[in-house]
């Protein structure tokens, strides 16, 4: 390395503390050991920043949830704030709309996760069987899809599914659905959410899933698949008993990741409904945003935020544990 000049005087070299060098216990105990402070100095900027932009706001969310800051005035004049205990929670939890929103979000999430994982798995398998040119073609397309911002996805899908001039209606019409011409996909919120929004989200999620799962499948040794085939396993059996066990960690990882992403869906709905989604399109994310920013109900919105995190908690914890496990091996 030319960057380092050799120093003939050979200064006393301190030993690196690190997992690789297995420092002896005795050396590490003393506070005065040279360099012990270094890792703390290194993480300090990150810790300070993250406390500022994540830690403190999270604390504020919790505090707000127990206050009555439900108007801009109360925010501007902190003297008017009052602590109201769990009143905010009981108000939100006894609100029928909240439960409708939660139910809708779960339904939407399960639908989108199931479709995108199933499609992603299927196409990842197909990509293992195709000729090289077909694989290059599909990977290239997926790469471009991956790059499209979610807001643009929403905008494009609004145009694809537009009632007037929309191409999806026209394609249905071409294939015989004469009644589909000028069909308004958004009039019925259920149709708009579970068909159009779901299509947009699945479309955006597939590149990651297909390419990732396909890459995971290339880790499966050819010999194993071959051996299974020789032993008389049909394709389904060899998938279930050979491929699946090997890709399972990654499959679990991206299933929980998909759940986490889809549960907080916001941008696509926002773009598809031109910045003002009707209540029938409200998922938890949209609901807390409408409460917090459109209505300035900061405390109510904070309660919803907490509810949202709690509802995702099981999956979040499972995901983080899985990542720590995989990362620990590396």
């Amino acid at each position: 390395m030319s960057a380092i000049q050799s120093d003939p005087r050979q200064r006393g070299v301190e030993r690196l503390e690190g997992p690789v060098l297995a420092p002896s216990k005795g050396r590490r105990r003393g506070v005065t050991v040279q360099g012990r402070y270094i890792p703390y100095v290194l993480i300090l900027p990150a810790v300070i920043t993250l406390i500022g932009v994540m830690g403190y706001p999270l604390v504020r969310v919790i505090l707000l949830a127990f206050q009555n800051v439900n108007s801009y005035l109360r925010l501007a004049v902190p003297g008017l704030d009052r602590w109201i205990g769990f009143q905010g929670f009981s108000r939100v939890l006894s609100d029928a709309q909240f439960w409708h929103v939660v139910w809708r979000t779960f339904l939407f999430t399960f639908e989108v996760v199931a479709i995108s994982i199933a499609l992603g798995l299927a196409m990842a398998l197909v990509l293992n069987r195709v000729s090289p040119w077909a694989k290059i073609f599909v990977s290239t397309v997926l790469m471009f899809v991956w790059a499209i911002p979610a807001l643009v996805t929403g905008t494009v899908f609004r145009w694809l599914f537009a009632g007037i001039g929309g191409v999806i209606d026209y394609i249905f019409y071409l294939f015989g659905g004469s009644g589909m011409k000028n069909h308004d996909w958004f009039a019925n919120a259920n149709e708009g959410l579970y068909v159009v929004v779901a299509a947009a989200v699945v479309w955006g999620a597939l590149p990651f899933l297909v390419l990732g799962l396909n890459a995971a499948m290339t880790q499966v040794p050819k010999e194993l698949v071959e051996a299974a085939r020789v032993d008389g396993a049909n394709p389904v059996q060899s998938f279930r008993h050979v491929v699946l066990p090997i890709i399972r960690p990654f499959l679990l990882l991206c299933t929980s990741l998909s759940f986490i992403w889809d549960f907080q869906v916001f941008t696509q709905i926002w773009a598809l409904r031109q910045n003002s989604p009707e209540p029938g399109y409200w998922t938890v994310g949209i609901y807390l945003y409408e409460e917090g920013f459109t209505s300035s109900h900061y405390s109510t919105s904070s309660v919803i935020s907490i509810a949202m995190i709690v509802l995702m908690l099981a999956v979040l914890v499972a995901y983080i544990r899985q990542v720590v496990k995989i990362g620990g091996q590396g």
């Binding site: 969310v61 494009v156 899908f157 955006g204 085939r229 941008t267 773009a271």
Partner: protein, 308 residues
């Protein structure tokens, strides 16, 4: 995140698709696999690819259609003639270029700050075993997974109080909430792969430990810095909710917020030609970056360094 961080946060360990390697595999076709079945699978893959490509094709097609084509009773799959007036409409919009510049400022700011802060923390995590290391790693992962939406309101309140509401700096700081964890987590695996012998050799040769960080680890993790920087760039460029929440003036918005306002304005709400032109233009910087860097693999560098 599919619903939220538009770049759908790429996991660090996702191996890049490698069509070049699969070429060799295709030749050694297994005996049981018939040519006909490969044909069927090819057909399935092509149909899938075409369906996936269609929205992008339609977006681009719409931008070059004339008004006559756009208002036609039946949409056409190829324009009768190419008409670029949609782009003119976009560039005539007084806010478009300025807002694009805002996005660039905010993105560059948050990427550089995220890389600087994240690089240091990544060294600590990759090179040292210290008390609090594991809690720090878990905290990083937790921060990464907390829904941004849930802290949008307190962030707005905090920045408002600090006088950073409707300021680029406020948004840059807010974006560090997702760039730092990403950078730490991804760079960590890059740095772990740099042999610690290189640090030692440098220090034997008289380099201080901090010197080793900046003279050995920094240059060797450059490929990692580039890759993470690109990903962080994409996330910041595509981010919508925080930008929408933390900026309010017309001339301070980012491109994504601009697009959302543009396409819901009364004048352009039904003008899909210019909406698609705007949509394409605001995603172009990300598409270009994605295409250039996706396959960049940074292997062999450390091996060469040890030998040298």
């Amino acid at each position: 995140m599919a619903g939220f961080t538009p770049a759908r946060a790429m996991p660090d360990r996702l191996p890049a698709a490698q069509p070049s390697r699969s070429r060799g595999r295709g030749r050694g076709r297994r005996p049981g696999e018939s040519r006909a079945m490969t044909g069927v699978w090819n057909a399935v893959a092509v149909v899938f690819g075409v369906v996936m490509a269609f929205p992008i094709y339609w977006m681009i097609l719409t931008t070059v259609k004339s008004n006559g084509d756009l208002l036609a009773q039946n949409p056409t799959f190829w324009p009768t003639h190419f008409d670029f007036s949609s782009y003119k409409t976009i560039f005539d919009d007084p806010d478009f270029l300025g807002n694009m510049r805002n996005t660039a400022i905010i993105t560059i700011g948050s990427v550089l700050a995220g890389l600087a802060v994240g690089f240091l923390a990544a060294i600590a995590v990759a090179r040292f075993r210290f008390r609090g290391r594991n809690p720090f790693i878990v905290a990083i992962l937790i921060v990464q997974m907390v829904p941004l939406l849930s802290i949008a309101i307190p962030l707005y309140i905090v920045l408002n109080k600090a006088g950073l509401y409707d300021q680029f700096l406020g948004v840059i700081l807010a974006y560090l909430v997702f760039t730092i964890p990403y950078v730490v987590w991804t760079l960590r695996s890059f740095i772990v792969n740099i042999p610690v012998e290189l640090d030692e050799a440098a220090m034997v040769d008289g380099c201080t430990r901090w010197g080793a960080f900046f003279r050995i680890i920094l240059p060797l993790s450059l490929p990692g810095l580039v890759t993470t920087g690109v990903y962080a760039w994409i996330q910041a460029w595509n981010e919508f909710v925080l930008a929408n929440t933390l900026l309010s003036s017309n001339n301070k918005r980012t491109s994504m917020v601009w697009l959302s306002f543009y396409s819901s304005s009364p004048t352009h709400g039904a003008d899909y030609g210019s909406q698609m032109a705007g949509a394409l233009l605001v995603s172009l910087p990300v598409i270009v970056l994605f295409v250039i860097f996706q396959r960049k693999v940074a292997s062999g560098l450390t091996a060469g360094a040890v030998k040298g």
